[in-house]
Symmetry: C2
Subunit: 281 residues, 2 copies
């Protein structure tokens, strides 16, 4: 039976030491201590990135960790590395530059295998920052800051294509990126926009329902209700008019159905906890 694995974009700067809630949840998902986790540090220009994730994942008890440092497109044809990927339960793409990921891995057996194994064999794929941006069919390659959408303020490119239901942006509140996400959606209000704060992740399940985890928020921008966009007549660099966009700000435990476009608040804590909280002065 085929089943899709989780798709887990993370907004960057996820907590790694004190309370690594997101990474810990990803590890549990992949099979806890016996999980075979592959780290792909290609986006990063730092040699230490792969090693650092080995340290963090070991601290979470993971026994089988491999780093596959694809540097060239030729590396992506290495049978020994592809065999490691074929056996993985989870793949983690580090931060850095998303164009490094797409230019190195795009159109190679690596991305074909990630797509196939995620869609059919339950491989869980997480990525942080650049690693999050690249997960979807439409990737924000680069853009400008600011909260007002302007024609031409964002450059989209094909990503790894695990889902085409959402365009993902990261470091969202920290880098004032609402404008560029709105611009991306104003071109064509077909996908949903997912703006991930730092230390915040979307766990997107096989039914395309995402659950928020982490200390920040996810800004969901649903343009399906849009009644008007001036993008087709806007001059370059000019602000763009968009009407009737629906926005949700979701925190830990809240959910959003990417197909049905419905949001749910976090579940109520169990009664005992609620009473305990109510009793606090």
């Amino acid at each position: 039976m085929t089943h899709r694995g989780m798709i887990v974009p993370i907004g960057g700067a996820e907590e790694k030491m004190r309370d690594p809630a997101i990474l810990s949840r990803f590890v549990d998902l992949c099979g806890c201590q016996d999980a075979r986790i592959v780290v792909i540090p290609t986006a990063s220009s730092l040699k230490s990135t792969g090693r650092n994730y080995i340290t963090i994942l070991r601290r979470l008890g993971v026994k089988h960790i491999k780093v596959l440092p694809f540097e060239t497109r030729e590396d992506c044809l290495r049978a020994d590395w592809l065999a490691v990927l074929e056996a993985a339960d989870g793949v983690f793409l580090t931060g850095g530059n998303q164009l490094k990921l797409s230019t190195t891995l795009g159109g190679t057996p690596v991305t074909a295998m990630l797509r196939r194994r995620n869609a059919q064999e339950g491989l869980h794929v997480a990525g942080t920052s650049a690693g999050a941006a690249v997960l979807g069919e439409h990737m924000i390659a680069f853009g400008n800051e600011g909260s007002t959408p302007r024609a031409d303020m964002v450059t989209l490119a094909p990503g790894f294509g695990l889902t085409n239901l959402a365009i993902i942006d990261q470091h969202f509140r920290q880098r004032d990126r609402l404008g560029r996400l709105l611009t991306a959606l104003a071109y064509n209000p077909e996908p949903v926009g997912i703006g991930l704060d730092e230390d915040t992740a979307a766990f997107i399940d096989a039914d395309d329902v995402m659950t928020v985890a982490g200390s920040g928020a996810i800004t969901v921008v649903d343009p399906s209700t849009m009644t008007y966009s001036s993008m087709d007549s806007a001059k370059r660099h000019s602000p763009v008019c968009v009407l009737d966009i629906r926005v949700h700000v979701l925190v830990d435990g809240a959910r959003f159905d990417l197909r049905g476009r419905t949001a749910e608040p976090p579940p109520l804590p169990p009664r005992a906890t609620r009473r305990a909280q109510a009793r606090k002065p």
Copy 2:
């Protein structure tokens, strides 16, 4: 049984009077004179566009032609127009501005129906110029002219998503667009680039094999062999270095397999014709 209809991007300025080979082939595909063909003139700012196509299609013998002039996103919810689309054998998207198409129809029941009926019910979908650009998952929204790829010279946006195997560009030789197509592919060499000359079409069948028709050429840019791209380090407006791109120039009758990435020349003419041609002075 579900089967996918043809996807037919046309490079613009297709011959409409003397020898309308492309339009005539599209009509045959849809069922000849009994075909129910829907024209969507949304991309165009001219009121006459829909009427003109009625005249051309009538001259080709088509009896059932409807024009659905979606102007607003509200129009895209009209049950009477959706019913017409539901009954169509073929849909034709006229030229104009592709952002008018994506901002008006994107994320509405119209695009959802086009995708579903094309993928499952054999609906044939053709588009010329802007109507061609919008057919794929990745659409070139706008860009600069010139044959050298430069970072930031092209703006991609989500299209109608009938296929994600190719990025389509049109008026290709006429407007010197190799640079912007190479730029789009240099971000991520996953899709194939299809550069359509004017009066030239790609008939993409259910197996994703495309056959060329028309008086010009199709430039196929296959980046799967790419060994290097400097896009991840290129400065804005700077030229981008890409190595080992494979290019085919295909003319009427030639074929290209978008999955296998193999090209075939046009078939030899039948022997009799060849002898007749050889005898010419």
